[in-house]
């Protein structure tokens, strides 16, 4: 069996195990944590396409998450359009938005790019805040209806959300898996490692970044659509703040940036930890979770810059650079 086939077998094992979990866990709080863990794994997998593989560290992906959440909510609450289609529409809008923003932003290098993404996402948050047609500061409440796979509303049994989040994770994983071994995957990593050398080898550097951004934004918006359906009420603060941008980047960074399994491993550690601190410390308004994230980033970058997964690699020698 090749290394790539082994990955697929591993995925099947993980999926089967995770699909059985909702049959075992009945506690609503625990199921909630499981849903969020899988959702952030999928979102971090999406972020990883641009940040991990292509090396363009975005700290503004909350923008695409918000666009997905809002598109899905507006289409459903105002026009009764199923969230399946709403999320797809949000994905397409985010993709176009990412291309429009990437055009100027990918001319910026390193930290300047990251700072620009933060600023743009904050502007997006302010715009939505003041945009009455989408509920302004009040947000959008999803109409209450019976449990249904069409409207993605499940009031009693939370298990369907586990399957939906798991499905989203599997899709983002498979897309990453497929691209990793294609021309785009090689081009992205070349752009990350050394853009000058990449260009001398015929890599379309700018186009590579644009493609990664578009794909990354698309899946992030699907995640936003899912989240809106899951919580069935959104406002600007609950889907578009900087905290989300951090939560998309961190699992990948923690688990192993630019790797296939890093986002899931990182999310499995980070999200339960976050949820537990939140329920013990109360609310998310006090910023304690942000302090924890900050501390985690520092610990990782000092102790294990290549993430948790590198503990299992025989060959990983981050200090071998001359």
């Amino acid at each position: 069996m090749t290394h790539r086939q082994l990955q697929l077998v591993l995925l099947s094992g993980v999926v089967i195990a995770l699909a059985i979990l909702p049959r075992v866990i009945t506690d609503v709080y625990m199921l909630n944590v499981l849903v969020l863990t899988l959702m952030y794994a999928a979102l971090s997998q999406s972020w990883n396409i641009l940040g991990g593989y292509c090396g363009q560290i975005s700290l503004g992906h909350a923008l695409y998450f918000g666009v997905g959440a809002y598109a899905t909510s507006v289409f459903y609450a105002s026009f009764g359009i199923t969230p399946w289609l709403g999320a797809l529409a949000g994905g397409v809008i985010s993709m176009l938005l990412a291309l429009g923003l990437g055009y100027p932003c990918f001319r910026l290098k390193g930290h300047y790019f990251s700072i620009a993404t933060i600023v743009i996402a904050e502007i997006g948050l302010l715009l939505v805040h003041n945009w009455d047609a989408v509920g302004g500061a009040l947000g959008i409440q999803w109409p209450i209806g019976p449990d249904s796979w069409v409207t993605l509303q499940f009031a009693r049994d939370k298990a369907p959300y586990v399957y939906l989040a798991l499905g989203l994770f599997v899709i983002t994983w498979l897309v990453t898996y497929w691209i990793e071994d294609s021309r785009w995957g090689f081009w992205w990593r070349a752009v990350k490692d050394n853009p000058e050398a990449a260009e001398s080898l015929g890599v379309e550097v700018f186009r590579s970044k644009m493609a990664a951004a578009a794909l990354s934004a698309f899946f992030t918006a699907l995640g936003g659509g899912f989240y809106a359906a899951f919580v069935s009420y959104i406002d600007p603060e609950s889907v578009m703040t900087f905290r989300f941008s951090l939560l998309f980047a961190l699992p990948a960074v923690l688990g192993g940036i630019g790797t296939l399994w890093g986002p899931l491993v990182g999310a499995a550690v980070l999200i339960p930890l976050t949820e537990i601190t939140r329920s013990y410390m109360g609310g998310s308004g006090n910023g304690l979770d942000l302090i924890i994230y900050g501390a985690l980033i520092m610990i990782i970058s000092l102790a294990k810059p290549e993430g948790i997964l590198s503990l299992f690699h025989r060959n990983a020698k981050p200090d071998a650079r001359p």
Partner: protein, 244 residues
Amino acid sequence: MSGEPILEIRNVSKHFGGLTANDDVSLNVGRGEILGLIGPNGAGKSTLFNMIAGALPVTAGTIRFNGRDITAMPGTARCALGIGRTFQVPRSFDTMTVLENVMVGGFMRSSSTGAVRRAAIETLDFVGIGGRADAPAVELTPPEKRRLEMARALATRPQLLLLDEVMTGLTPAEAKAGVDLIRKVRDQGVTIIMVEHVMEIVMPLVDRAVVLHLGRLLAEGNPADVVRDDKVITAYLGERHRAA
């Protein structure tokens, strides 16, 4: 050297602010030749390479490749036309394996991963580091890194290959292997321009030598004549070569 030159450099200059790195350089490179580009440190050799490969824009002048004006073309497009290059300070992709590094170049000519992988393995064998294919690029020794640079450039199937000090820091035995490799590349029909400081290596290998000094073309001709040129000895080679 007959027929149309593969590369024509016409009155090319490069200024970095007040500093003139290349000053009105004109040069033709014939198809299939090995051209040695020599000159003291800071003469502008790497800068000229960067302008030929499209990594730096020219300040003035034109560059034609196979008769086509490429002066304004980005590096990616020049690679597609058939210009390959190595960097004086190796620039490997350090999160990738040696094989993956070469595959990046291979995707220039094909989008089939399997075909690109097979070709890359062949290329690695050709440059003599096939045994290191699965090693992370960071773990290569400096001479291996220079071979990787060559393999990567060769994977793009260039017609013209620019080699910037690929033999620097090699032991005599390694340098001998390097010379053999460069001959092998030329025998496949690739035109080569090489920058090298060690005269014992350059002179027997090249068909023609060009000397840059302070950004200007100082001398040009067959290697034996160039090393006897008074201007070249004074500016670059030093008195040690006067007797030779």
